[in-house]
């Protein structure tokens, strides 16, 4: 049984470099996702929205899929969390290299800025 405790402690020590490696991978992945999203010209409808990579994964009706990190803001989007607000058929518009994504929901137009990497 003492051996099992040592195994546990060994695993904990082993997980430290794994965590560092995962963090480095995540940073690179985030940069890739951002570049794809930032450069994209979007004028489409939402097919689905989910929590992805601790941010937002958005699939569009034109087949494209983006991962980004929208900011909730009282002035820009009335404090509506994108993940909880955006629904299928809602329209999203963004110019290439624009720092703002517009979510058009019925008659409401919500603006979302997003995290830059």
């Amino acid at each position: 049984m003492k051996g099992l405790l040592i195994v546990g402690i060994f695993i904990i020590i082993l997980l430290v470099p794994i965590g560092i490696w995962m963090q480095m991978q995540g940073k690179e992945r985030g940069r890739r996702h951002f570049e794809t999203f930032y450069s994209a010209e979007i004028d489409s409808h939402i097919e689905s929205v989910r929590i992805a990579y601790k941010g937002t994964g958005m699939k569009l009706s034109d087949g494209r899929e983006f991962v980004f990190y929208p900011f909730t803001d009282q002035d820009l989007n009335e404090g509506n969390i994108f993940n909880y607000t955006a629904e299928k058929e809602d329209k999203v518009v963004k110019k290439a290299y624009s720092d703002t994504l517009y979510l058009i929901k019925n008659d409401k137009k919500l603006a979302y800025t997003f995290k830059k990497f």
Partner: protein, 579 residues
């Protein structure tokens, strides 16, 4: 002296129709025909390019006598090189060709000189042919039939008497093969179609030629050359045979095609033309509608734009006279000479009085919109019109002087927010807290599950309403327990990036939380769990839990320890329901 007049959209120069202007471009009247032009404009209506259907001119020297008068005007040396030779003719129904032979004083054949413009593309072409008198196909058998082999053997035998060894049959066969090869590789005559390009100062800047190849032996070969013209000037094209062999050329053609874009204009922000970057195709009527699609009065010797109410001078970026609408409420604070509200990137001016002054909707309702003459969309709301269009996003700033009480409130709120988000406060009060329960069964390897209520205490999505999450973990070591868990976690990045989505960690996205736990267990248990969750932003989330409950000891040692990875999913977020 020329005079100019307009009748609506019809423009006249010295009494003759010059062009008809319309929204998309104009129809220029040139050489008794209309040339239709399309204007490519930017967001302010500045004409950037003028596009036309390209015009092509084809000149052909058929060499036929019935076309002699016309072709001798278009080409030189037609008469001097013409020869009736139906077997070498390429013109359908014709019989004449250009016959060239340097020994007979016919080096230079038909030639043409013509003006060219930058942007033109020229294609020259001709059919050429020569007759090879040695039509016999050479082979060793040919040599045997004609007795040439015996002659060569005899000659080489006589020559071999002076050598150390007499010629053998292999050596003779090799020599015959060499002779055949040499005869068969007889080159085509040095005859070609050539061109030379000169600029407007008659300086030669490019030349080239297409030489007749062996494909022209006894049948016509088409020589073609395409040339892109980079400078105004002229081109010389001609046919040459430098040899004493007979060469026949026919259907010499020169086709010039004008460009699709006949005018390209660049401006500085105030409309001054940057001519070095622009382009104007020559020989056509220049389009004067440029900046803001207004007519440049260049033909009067002054660089002014006619906006209707006033003339605009792009050199100084000002109007030449006072604004007739200077007392309009939207312009009351501006200089009556300033143009485009001092922002030519955003505004144009439809008629020289005001970029966007009119609000021509009576009794507007909220959400109603109209398009101004300046081309921008306005929407009515909260008792005023707001501009929607334009290339640049508008930032509306409303100035408001707060009362002393309000000022104090705002300052207090900002100070409290700063204090709450300070590193010290975050160290004591975490960004996330959780309360829940779960059990773990790890003996060497194993797993566990838990259910927690989580509160996000910082960031724009902070709320007192919790999100319910479930966590599944796998690991190794020894930890068999069922505990109540009280946890805390901090995001290592800035506060404004904290979101409720951070509560979820999905292995499906390649993410996982790594954790390690240890504690005292002897029936009851008290222990701690530490965790780290990498995020894609470069910062991770560091967490810790206090675990209190029941747990089995690791044998005689009243302790346990384990480590592993876990996933967390949001089951339900009460904050979402509120929204």
């Amino acid at each position: 002296m020329k005079n100019y007049a307009e009748r609506g959209e019809f423009m006249f120069e010295s009494g003759q129709l010059d062009y008809i202007i319309h929204e998309e471009g104009r129809a220029a009247y040139e050489n008794s025909a209309f040339q239709y032009e399309f204007f490519v404009k930017d967001h302010l209506g500045n004409v950037r390019q003028v596009v036309r259907a390209p015009q092509s001119n084809l000149r052909v020297a058929t060499m036929e006598p019935e076309h002699a008068v016309e072709e001798e005007e278009l080409f030189q040396s037609i008469k001097e090189s013409r020869q009736g030779a139906a077997e070498h003719n390429k013109t359908p129904g014709g019989y004449a060709t250009a016959w060239l032979n340097a020994d007979r004083g016919r080096i230079l054949g038909p030639s043409r000189s013509q003006e060219i413009q930058e942007g033109d593309s020229i294609e020259i072409g001709v059919f050429g042919k020569y007759v090879d008198p040695k039509k016999i196909r050479l082979s060793p058998a040919t040599f045997a039939r004609t007795g040439m082999d015996r002659k060569i053997i005899r000659t080489l035998g006589e020559y071999g008497q002076n050598l150390a060894a007499a010629p053998n049959e292999f050596a003779i066969a090799n020599v015959i093969a060499l002779v055949i090869g040499e005869l068969n590789q007889k080159p085509a005559p040095e005859a070609y179609m050539a061109y030379a390009l000169y600029d407007s100062d008659s300086n030669l800047y490019e030349q080239g030629k297409v030489v007749l190849s062996k494909k022209a032996r006894n049948k016509h070969e088409e020589l073609v050359q395409k040339i892109a013209i980079k400078k105004d000037g002229y081109i010389e094209t001609f046919l040459v045979n430098e040899t004493s062999e007979n060469v026949w050329f026919d259907q010499f053609r020169v086709m010039s095609t004008g460009p699709i874009i006949v005018q390209e204009t660049h401006y500085d922000p105030w409309g001054l033309e940057i001519k070095e970057l622009g382009f104007q195709y020559g020989g056509i009527k220049v389009n004067p509608y440029l900046y803001n699609s207004k007519e440049a009065i260049g033909h009067l010797g002054i660089e002014l734009y006619d906006y209707g109410a006033r003339m605009y001078d792009p050199v100084i970026g000002r109007w030449s006279v006072v604004d007739p609408l200077a007392d309009h409420p939207k312009q009351i604070g501006m200089s009556p000479y300033s143009a485009f509200w001092n922002n030519p990137i955003r505004y144009n001016d439809p008629d020289g009085r005001c970029p966007e002054c009119e609000e021509n909707v009576i009794d507007p309702t909220d959400g109603q919109s109209y398009t101004s003459t300046g081309g921008a969309d306005y929407t009515f709301g909260n008792g005023e019109w707001t501009r929607q269009g334009g290339m640049l996003n508008e930032v509306t700033v409303t100035a408001q002087k707060p009362s002393l009480l309000e000022k104090g409130y705002y300052r207090g709120q900002a100070a409290a927010q700063d204090a709450w988000n300070s590193p010290l406060a975050r160290a004591y009060v975490p960004d996330f807290v959780s309360v829940g329960g779960g059990f773990t069964g790890i003996a060497l390897v194993g797993g566990g599950t838990s259910l927690e209520a989580n509160w996000v205490l910082r960031g724009p999505e902070a709320s007192l309403l919790p999100a319910i999450t479930t966590t599944q973990s796998v690991g190794g070591g020894y930890s068999i327990d069922a505990t109540l868990n009280i946890g805390r976690a901090n995001y290592l990045g800035p506060v404004n990036e904290i979101s409720r989505s951070m509560l979820q960690t999905s292995i499906g996205d390649g993410q996982a939380t790594i954790w390690g736990s240890g504690g005292v267990a002897a029936g009851g248990k008290i222990g701690v769990t530490g965790s780290y969750t990498p995020t894609d932003g470069g910062y991770g989330i560091v967490g810790g839990q206090l675990n209190i409950g029941a747990g089995l000891p690791a044998g005689p040692l009243p302790a346990n320890a384990a480590g592993g990875v876990s996933n967390t999913f949001i089951l339900y977020d009460f904050h979402k329901k509120r929204k």
